[in-house]
């Protein structure tokens, strides 16, 4: 027991004395969360759009004011002819153009049929359709206001409600994703590197030729990073609740429990990597390329899994982060209990067991 304690203290010396690595370990989650939460986001806000308003009447003014008052658009009124539209798109000044037909109000009031053309820059198709949707729903809103004044016999009103994330905040996807990524990075990469480092330095030889059991050596390598991961979990959750304004709907204890399960999975993966490599560089490359890439690409964090080709959907099942992100979303955002996530917990638990078993099989008591 004293051996274990001393060994763990030694590991903490390694971590704490390497300031740069420590800053990365503890600072990275915070920086990443803030970047993904604020700067890099899929939310459409303040997009530059142009309005070509030749009729310049009360109706067009009302529509423009409505567009302007939404937080989605910044309106550029400088266009005076349709020739300028393409130029504005080409030099990237605008994402969307709203073009009113001539005599807009007249047509609207007298022929009951006025036209607005929406032209979007579809180089980014998602953004283009989002902008078109926002713009048309604002225009629809204006129309229904008009209709309120003179009742039409048949109307169908669509009423939308965005469940769980009514404000469509980006943080709701970035927080679970960042958690999955950071924990994997710290637990897997750092553990595998720190075990392989002992091999590279030649100290593993001494540790093997000592009364200390190999399992104890591994355990004492793993515990410090487990603790560092817990610290990170605390900082991520505090940030997401108090800075990004993303409340934890479900039980915080359940959330922490599934996170610990995921950390254990990542740690055992780190041990597995360390049994397969002899150099720190190889361990780092395997952790980064072999793990970070799948987490970003196949976990459903960056791209929806349902939209992927079948083969990638099948592969995504072996990415632990996919299951973890599902669990975090269920507990944190939807407020589900254990009953809703037992399947995912079992899968991650099973993966952990498999990783550990292979590691034990592969661990060399000799050189």
């Amino acid at each position: 027991m004293k051996q274990l304690f001393t060994f763990i203290r030694k590991e903490f010396h390694h971590i704490l004395r390497d300031y740069r690595t420590m800053m990365v370990l503890l600072g990275l989650p915070i920086v990443q969360l803030l970047i993904f939460g604020f700067a890099i986001t899929n939310e459409t806000r303040n997009s530059a759009i142009a309005v070509l308003d030749i009729s310049k009447d009360e109706a067009t003014q009302n529509v423009i004011t409505k567009l302007e008052s939404s937080r989605y658009f910044d309106i550029d009124r400088s266009l005076t002819s349709s020739q300028q539209i393409e130029q504005a798109f080409k030099n990237g000044r605008i994402k969307l153009a709203v073009i009113f037909q001539p005599n807009f109000q007249n047509e609207l009031m007298h022929s009951n049929n006025a036209q607005i053309q929406l032209i979007a820059d579809a180089t980014d198709p998602n953004q283009a359709s989002t902008l078109v949707n926002y713009a048309s729903s604002i225009i629809m809103e204006y129309q229904s206001e008009l209709n309120d004044q003179n009742k039409l016999p048949y109307t169908i009103n669509t009423e939308m409600r965005m469940l769980y994330n009514p404000e469509l905040k980006g943080a709701y996807t970035s927080v679970p994703g960042v958690m999955a990524m950071i924990l994997l990075l710290i637990s897997t990469m750092m553990t595998s590197i720190s075990i392989v480092k002992e091999k590279e330095l030649g100290t593993m030889e001494i540790l093997l030729v000592s009364p200390m059991k190999p399992a104890m050596v591994i355990l004492s390598k793993v515990i410090p990073y487990f603790i560092v991961s817990l610290v990170n979990i605390a900082s991520i959750l505090l940030l997401s609740v108090f800075v990004l304004g993303m409340p934890i709907q479900g039980s915080i204890f359940l959330l922490i429990a599934v996170t610990i399960l995921y950390i254990l999975c990542a740690l055992s993966l780190g041990i597995l990597i360390s049994t397969a490599t002899d150099s720190q560089l190889a361990a780092m490359l395997i952790s980064l390329l072999g793990l970070m890439l799948p987490v970003v690409m196949l976990s459903g964090y960056a791209f929806p899994i349902a939209n992927m080709p079948t083969i990638l959907q099948v592969i995504s099942n072996i990415v632990p982060a996919k299951w973890y992100i599902i669990m975090v979303k269920s507990v944190m955002i939807k407020g589900m209990g254990l009953a809703g996530i037992w399947k995912e917990s079992l899968i991650i638990g099973g993966m952990t067991a498999v990783f550990l078993l292979i590691s034990i099989k592969r661990f060399k008591i000799r050189l």
């Binding site: 010396h13 330095l201 030649g202 030889e205 093997l208 030729v209 000592s210 009364p211």
Partner: protein, 312 residues
């Protein structure tokens, strides 16, 4: 355990040990049918150039490698079956050993003491001589120590659990001559405490500091004996020759029909002759146009013996 010690008076025994490494298509025989034994309380040296198989033997004895063939015992314990026991009683300093650079001197020693279930205080007397020199720097990080200091610290770490036998793989490689001398003095002191020591080195001058040595080359042992005996068995008169033009001297000496062997040794060439006649050599060299040369009879060293054995 006590009984067993009485039964086995040998600290280490190897019999017909073979170890091969296979890399891709070629196989390298690192240790080729090696047998030797080390008596208790003896300083036994494995002497040979890099690649002679010294490290492989250390790793087999410390249970880190499995031999392909042969049996080996350390203090009577089989290296294959009783590896756990061996690991808790031997002290080992690997050639690559570099301590934890970011821990202080004291922390390193404390760590290794605890790993071996002991404390610095408990065995302080054992490492006292060595550690006293390090104590002024005990809060310094190991990475900031000089090469000699590092080796002393490493030795302290290998010694702290009071092992009955110490395996030191090239402990003085890369260490300055003064520290090397001090290091060997420490080994002598450890020997008086009854610790058996197996040490390897590629410095021939360190060989004569061992009780017995094994001269190794290409995975095989060429000779095992006391250093003095090996030197005595050289059996030939050895001459050191030098002149103003050392390079031409070497070619001329090798062309000399009576030359048996001739090697460059620093600032002199060491020479043995078939017919021991320095006067004839003197005439030969004068005829060859060397004027500033000097021939003197010298005592052979281990290195001369090594070169002689290599030729056979």
């Amino acid at each position: 355990m006590q009984e067993k010690e009485v039964l086995y008076m040998k600290a280490v025994e190897l019999e017909n040990i073979v170890k091969t490494y296979s890399a891709k298509k070629s196989t390298v025989v690192a240790v080729n049918d090696v047998s030797f034994s080390v008596n208790e309380g003896e300083v036994f040296g494995l002497i040979g150039p890099d690649g002679a198989g010294k490290t492989s033997i250390f790793r087999i004895l410390t249970t880190l490698l499995l031999a392909d063939k042969g049996i080996a015992n350390v203090l009577g314990y089989d290296v294959v079956k009783e590896w756990k026991t061996i690991r808790s009683i031997v002290g080992y300093m690997p050639g690559k050993f570099s301590l934890y650079q970011d821990l202080t001197v004291e922390e390193n020693l404390e760590f290794f003491a605890t790993i071996f279930n002991t404390t610095i205080q408990e065995n302080y007397d054992l490492v006292a001589d060595i550690y006293k020199q390090l104590e002024p720097f005990k809060t310094r990080r190991a990475g900031k120590l000089s090469g000699g200091m590092k080796q002393k610290l490493a030795l302290s770490c290998a010694l702290i659990h009071k092992p009955k036998i110490l395996f030191l793989d090239e402990p003085t490689t890369g260490v300055d001559p003064v520290s090397r001398k001090e290091f060997w003095e420490m080994l002598k002191r450890l020997k008086t405490m009854g610790i058996s020591i197996v040490v390897s080195t590629s410095y021939m001058d360190e060989a004569k500091l061992c009780d017995r040595i094994a001269l190794m080359q290409n995975g095989q042992i060429m000779k095992i004996d006391r250093p003095q005996t090996i030197v005595d068995e050289f059996g030939k008169n050895l001459y050191a020759v030098n002149s103003a033009n050392m390079f031409r001297l070497l070619t001329d000496l090798r062309a000399y029909p009576q030359t048996e062997s001739c090697f460059a040794f620093g600032d002199k060439h060491h020479l043995t002759m078939k017919e021991d006649n320095p006067k004839m050599l003197n005439d030969y060299l004068t005829n060859a146009g060397h004027n500033d040369f000097n021939i003197s009879k010298i005592e052979p060293g281990i290195e001369d013996c090594f070169m002689q054995l290599m030729k056979i």
